[in-house]
């Protein structure tokens, strides 16, 4: 029994301890620093009580960024799910050159987000980029992609959809490829058409995969900041700021470490609570039993 216990720990502990050690200090540090007035002119761990949190409550720019992230993440992940599922269904079965299409449709998720955001910035360039050029050829007037607040959000969402739909596609295609064959044969014998088969067989069978794919994407999307940094730098004004990027400005660029800590913790807790609730709601909506 003692030997077994030692073996158990030998497997688990190295990894667990490594992660705990790497994560625990930042967490404790952030909690402590959020109660301090640490900033660029006063770089020390003093104690100011809840001042940072009170300040945060009145920080409308922070709350706007949280709300914006909710809309951005919710919107883009929904679009990614619909397109990803659709395309996965199309390349799932009989299709000429399907391996080529599958590889092509996977590539964007492999590529470095900040690097591709830099390329997208040239694509959305107002006078020299191809998007406005193509719009011009269609007889439409050029759009201020990166200097108008609405278009900048649309540009950011386009980049997110381009980058991460492939991830959704990968998870959903892997799910489709592991489905049992019998239900589909039964549906074919019943004479069910394409749409009916999808509604009655494919979609319900894919519910667990759908829920985990959406949640994984929401988790990753909630951290949005790198592509904002490169594509729009949060602009124009603060109209494309995500909480991650806003934190970067306050905590790192302006070195308001204490205030940044308070924002960090609030952001983290909000994300955990929201994602847990969303995960439960999704499981319910998709009628998945157990936890996904």
């Amino acid at each position: 029994m003692d030997g077994l216990r030692r073996h158990k720990s030998m497997f688990l502990l190295p990894g667990l301890l490594t992660l705990v050690l790497i994560i625990i200090f930042p967490l404790l540090f952030t909690i402590r620093v959020s109660f301090s007035g640490w900033n660029v002119s006063n770089p020390q761990m003093d104690f100011v009580g809840g001042a940072n949190y009170v300040k945060m409550l009145h920080d409308s720019r922070f709350w706007a960024s949280i709300l914006r992230l909710g809309l951005l993440a919710g919107g883009t992940v929904l679009i990614q799910y619909v397109i990803g599922f659709g395309v996965a269904l199309l390349v799932w079965r009989d299709l000429r050159g399907r391996r080529f299409w599958r590889v092509l449709f996977l590539i964007p998720m492999m590529t470095t987000p900040v690097v591709m955001a830099a390329i997208w910035q040239t694509i959305f360039h107002e006078s020299l980029g191809p998007v406005n050029d193509l719009l011009g050829r269609l007889g439409l007037s050029p759009v201020h992609w990166l200097t108008g607040s609405g278009p900048a959000l649309a540009a950011l969402m386009t980049v997110e959809v381009w980058q991460w739909t492939p991830f959704m596609f990968l998870l959903l295609l892997a799910g489709l490829l592991s489905l049992p064959k019998e239900p589909f044969m039964a549906a074919a014998i019943d004479g069910a058409g394409v749409w009916r088969t999808f509604r009655k067989v494919t979609f319900p069978l894919m519910a667990p995969v759908s829920v985990s794919a959406i949640i994984i994407r929401l988790i990753e999307a909630s951290k949005l900041s790198d592509s904002v940094y490169v594509l729009t730098s949060g602009g124009p004004g603060s109209s494309t700021e995500s909480p991650g990027y806003y934190l970067y400005i306050r905590g790192l660029k302006e070195q308001q470490t204490g205030y940044g800590g308070a924002l960090s913790l609030t952001y983290l807790v909000l994300m955990i609570v929201t994602l847990t609730v969303v995960a439960a709601l999704l499981a319910k909506a998709f009628k998945v039993k157990g936890n996904a």
Partner: protein
Amino acid sequence: MSRLYATFKYTVIAIWACFVAGPFMWAMTTSFKDANGVQGGATYIPWLQYKPTVTGWHNIFGGAGGVDVVHPFVNSAVITVAASAISLVLGSLAAYGLSRYRFKAGFIKNSDIVFFFVSQRIMPPVVLVVPFFYLLQSVNLLDSIPGLVIVTVALLLPIAVWVMVDFFNGIPREIDEMAMLDGCSPFEAFVRAILPNSLPGLTVAAMFCAVFGWNDFFFAFRLTFTEVQTLPQAVVALNSSIPPWWTLSAAALFGISPLVLLAVWVERYLSKGNLSGAVR
């Protein structure tokens, strides 16, 4: 399958393919331009619309006044390989333990430990980066490859555990039991009987680790400065100066080239059905 449906199918695929491939085609064509090719407005076809040059490519491979992307490429490769290897070793050990033994400490059970690992993916890098800065500073590892490897492990270990727990759960316990009946210790059973059967799972985990390791920007951006520059940093630095688009495009294509090759691999494992375990 009706003709209408087939037409619809290929049309949708063609449209999506154009959208997916567009940025790469644009980067490709831009990388062969120079100031003349860029400043007249968007052009696409070399020779016909602009005169192609190799200035961009020359700039990233040691041309005068160019930028160094080769060293950042090597740095990125070393960091990615080291962090992935550490995460895979620690991750598969932990995942094997979690899949084969029952752990209990108070109300904490196996599923809670798995959840703890996976939940670390929720941590935004921007939250971690300030404490990491002081942590690395205190052990003198700022602006160094080992320092960056350590923090990258925090990003990759959850992925390795997530993929490998599901994979090990799919391997019948009889295999370990047979090995232990033959006189292997639990550890030997893991190394001799389980690992050789785990190549598909390890490959999938390694691919995810490689992608997320290679693509990390934020940690490298805030925790390294002059000594160590990673590839995403080098490309973004090109973007923030007055952009010579041709150099930027060439550097970008160079930087993502290993990842495009990875996509071919991923598809192979997808076709064999080895990714399915990771989704559940």
